[in-house]
Structures are given as structure tokens and as C-alpha cells.
Symmetry: C2
Subunit: 263 residues, 2 copies
DNA sequence: AAAGATATTGTACAGGGTAAGATAATGAAG
DNA sequence: CTTCATTATCTTACCCTGTACAATATCTTT
């Protein structure tokens, strides 16, 4: 092994140096890679995150966590994210994007989490590095079948106690989505229905950014966005002047993006 | 195991499902986590990336790769990045930031890479998920000691053949640094010496963005940046009019950032 | 003194963001 | 029917920023 290290001093670490540790069962530990999915959405005018429920075998209490699991050996991280979201919630057609990996050894600092994991799995579980994914979702569409674990849309300002560093992941996800909606506005329109009013669009931004937006200026902004197109349809059944429906023009949006990139 | 899966249907996968595969030596494979460091800098007016050299034991040819290695069991990803950079190049005091993880199974699609890895290590090497880190560096300071593998600052437009997906990682890193310098301008000043001229600053931006910047407008821009402070010192020994030195005021910068966050 | 090289400076216009008032359409209340 | 409440939509004025563009200043060399 020493000779090999001389030949490849950078890339090839020794097993003892980097990979082997033992857990409380005195088994060899290997690093694991998981994916966690942060699905954000608006529910009852509150910015919410989707948490799945599980029952604690010890205490019998209901606990919550982000949908996530370990990745397969032969799948891409993106594929793993879609698979895991689908397996844990049944959801499809959600535009997941990677936003950061979390690998602090303190992720497993809480003894409850560790105990639960080790007792539950009897597996050779070492540290877990998780790759976090993010999506903005249409809450109404997200009916989670009874086949899967129950899931709750939980306001981000009222999170229950979460395992590992899931709370930190969610906080970072919220910051990230605020950046993304500026860099790639289409994310917001993915969230909205095909036809939407100016007020719906404004309201979405208000909740994402957690601050009010001037109605009049917002209209001017919409007019400036070529890819937000007026339709002739009007909202009906409102107790006041009916609002016009707009739609998102993906072609025009992509054209605009292409122009930006060539400059 | 089945009972446990019923209790914890989401989080706990079976070994067979997710973690075990065999390689060509018919050994059990586990996922590995590595860190790769993309150090960008300007060398002879070209945007460059630091590549370390290694000699191919088979062909005897010199090959290049990003500085990177597997992480330890008990260290944070950030710590691993700093350790690995230091171990492979001896460099310290470089501000590394995580920017994305790469985990495509096609990373190891090139048979040469795989063969090299497997023959070299005789280790249980499964897939490798790598967490990529990024920094903008002062090239002049980066004298790499003879103790370490030789390293080359290589223009990003003239990359040699690189193993795995290192070329993709570098391309993404360049895009990322262009975003970051807008979101957090201090990165550019980390790169510059304590005293710098307007031309140096402008030149840095020109190379990062790969496009010319109008001199006059750039001066106006500098004046608008409170945290870029004029000094009374002048550049000396130039065969033409001497330029004024500016400095980066970290306090003012942080104040500005704090204000931005409260709005 | 002239030439060569780089540093520094001002002006005018267009566009986007912001603040704030005026008008329009609709159902509800009287 | 009239008025009111409510939300939608349009409008104007102002400021700040980005951008296009050319002349002058300072220093060294010849």
C-alpha cells in the first residue's frame, strides 16, 4: 500500500485514514449519501414545507422529517431525488433542484437520532452526507396517497422538532428559493396554475419574500415582463371588479433567457 | 428486517436495495464521498484553474486533475475541503466555498479512469459522490512547495484531458464564480492585494466575466461603492502617470451587507 | 520639447424601481 | 336606483443606475 501511495499520493487514501471507523456495535462504518427534499409551498397564506410523519417505536410519538433516503449505487443524484420523493410521497412532476450538501459530523450529534438509527437498522451506518434538493410546489395538487406515510404542510415559522439538521436545511432552502426566484423567475410560474391573476402572482411573491408589494408598481412590473401575457379571460364570482387572467409564455421566456446569455 | 422497514418505511433502506454492488473484483461496493477543490485565479492575464499533476503508472504520461480526495469519517465537508487542499498543495488561507455536488454514475464512464482507480487502489471503490468547492485565489502567493505534487495554473480555455467529470465541474465553477462575485463582491477583494489600483480591479472583473468594461463607467462604479476607499498612496515606478491605490474597507462592507439584510 | 503610455474625469440619455393619486368595474347594502 | 366597499387597473413624477461616449492630466522616455 505504501508503494501505491507514492505513485498516487493525492487521490488514493488509505482505508484506515479515511474510511474506516467503528460504531457502538463495533462494526466497520462507511460513509453514506442521502438525498433530502425540501418542498416549499403556500398553504392558507403561509409559507410551508412538506414534512413526512413517522411514529417513534420507542416513545410512540409522532415525529416529523424531510422526505429523504439513501441513494442507490447506480443512480445520479438528481434521479435519486425524484425517486425518493416519489417513493416517500407518491409525488411526480415536481421540479427538484439541488441546492447544497450537508455533511457536518454534528448532524448526528443528537443522541436520540443516532440511537433511533442504530437500533432501527442494525446496519453499518457511518456518517451520512446528504444532498439537499428544493422545489416550489402547488400545494393543492399535492394530495398524498394513503399508500404513503402521512405528510403535513407545515408553516416554516412553526416547525416541530426535526431530526438531524433538517431545520437548518429548511432555513437554507428558504434563503435559496429567494435567490432563485430572482435569477430564474420561471420557478414562480411553475408554482402557479396556467391561468393566474396579477393578485395571485403578487401574493406569491409577498409570501416568498415575506414582505408586502405595492399593487400599482407590481402591475407596471408585470407589463414589463414580456413573458407574462394578458389573456381575454376574466376571473368570475368575485364580490368586486373581476381580475384579468394572465399566462406564462414559456417560449418568450426562453428567448429572453437566451438573449441574456449571449450578452 | 421486514418488520423494521414497516416501522421506518422511509428512512431505512435495505442494504441490498441501496448500498451494495460489486466491482470487477467481485467485492462489495460502498458509496464514497470526496471533495474536489476548484481554485481559480488569473495568471498572465488568463483565467486559470489549479490542476495537480500525477504520473500515470501504466503509460508513464503526466496527467492532470483537480485537487481532491475522500473525506474522513468525522470531519465536516468544509473542514475536509480545507484539509485536502492543504494536504495536496500545502495551501492555506484560501476561502473555499461549497458550490455543488456531482454524483452522476457516468462520472466513472471512462474506462481508463475506472481501470486506473481499481488497479491502483485494489480497494472496495464504488461510486464516488464529490462535493465541489470553489475559491478565487491570488496566484502569485500560491507557491506550491516541492513537498507536494507539482501543480499547474492552467487556462480554462485550454484544459487538458481530465479524469472523471472534472472538466464539467470547472465549467460550472466558472459560471458560479460569476454569480457569486455579484452577490458577494468581497470575493473579488479577497483575491486582490490590500492596496490595489482601479485598473487592477477592473482587469480582474474583465477576466472573470470575459468581457471588456468601460473605464469611465467603472470609475463611477467604484466611487459609488462606499467600501472601496481611496488612499493617498500612488503606484510608483511606472513608465507613465502613476495610479492611485484603493483599499477594501471590510467594516463598511459588512455594514452595507447588514443593511441589505434588514430591508 | 515632443512622443508615448496610462490615469482620471463629465455629460446626456434610457430604463427600472419606487412612491403615491386617480379611475374603473363589480357585488353588496341601503 | 344610489351609494358604498372592494379590488383592479392605469397614470404621473422622481430618483437612481447603467451605459454610451471623448477630452484632459501626469509621468517617463527620447
Amino acid at each position: 500500500m505504501q508503494a501505491l501511495q507514492d505513485l498516487f499520493p493525492i487521490f488514493v487514501p488509505t482505508l484506515t485514514d479515511t474510511m474506516q471507523t467503528t460504531n457502538s456495535h463495533n462494526e466497520t462504518l462507511y460513509p453514506h449519501v442521502s438525498v433530502d427534499c425540501v418542498l416549499l409551498g403556500i398553504h392558507d397564506d403561509l409559507f410551508c414545507v412538506l414534512l413526512t410523519e413517522r411514529r417513534n417505536a420507542g416513545t410512540g410519538q409522532t415525529e416529523y422529517k424531510l422526505p429523504g433516503s439513501l441513494i442507490y449505487e447506480t443512480e445520479d443524484l438528481d434521479d435519486a431525488a425524484y425517486r425518493i420523493l416519489n417513493e416517500t410521497t407518491g409525488l411526480k412532476r415536481v421540479l427538484l433542484r439541488q441546492f447544497r450538501s450537508f455533511g457536518s459530523p454534528h448532524r448526528t450529534a443528537n443522541k436520540e437520532d443516532v440511537l433511533w438509527l442504530e437500533n432501527a437498522s442494525k446496519m453499518k451506518i457511518g456518517r451520512i452526507v446528504t444532498v439537499a434538493y428544493l422545489a416550489l410546489c402547488k400545494v393543492r395538487r399535492m394530495k398524498i396517497s394513503e399508500k404513503y406515510s402521512p405528510a403535513q404542510w407545515t408553516p416554516i415559522d412553526a416547525l416541530p422538532r426535526l431530526p438531524f439538521d433538517h431545520e437548518e436545511i429548511i432555513r437554507e432552502a428558504v434563503k435559496e428559493i429567494r435567490l432563485w426566484t430572482q435569477i430564474e423567475p420561471s420557478i414562480v410560474f411553475d408554482y402557479l396554475p396556467p391561468l393566474f391573476t396579477a393578485a395571485q402572482l403578487r401574493h406569491t411573491y409577498e409570501i416568498i419574500y415575506d414582505k408586502p408589494i405595492d399593487v400599482r408598481n407590481f402591475h407596471k412590473k408585470i407589463n414589463a415582463m414580456e413573458y407574462v401575457v394578458q389573456t381575454e379571460e376574466l376571473q368570475q364570482g368575485m364580490p368586486h371588479r373581476s381580475a384579468r387572467y394572465y399566462r406564462f409564455d414559456k417560449k418568450k421566456y426562453n428567448n429572453m433567457r437566451a438573449k441574456l446569455n449571449t450578452i
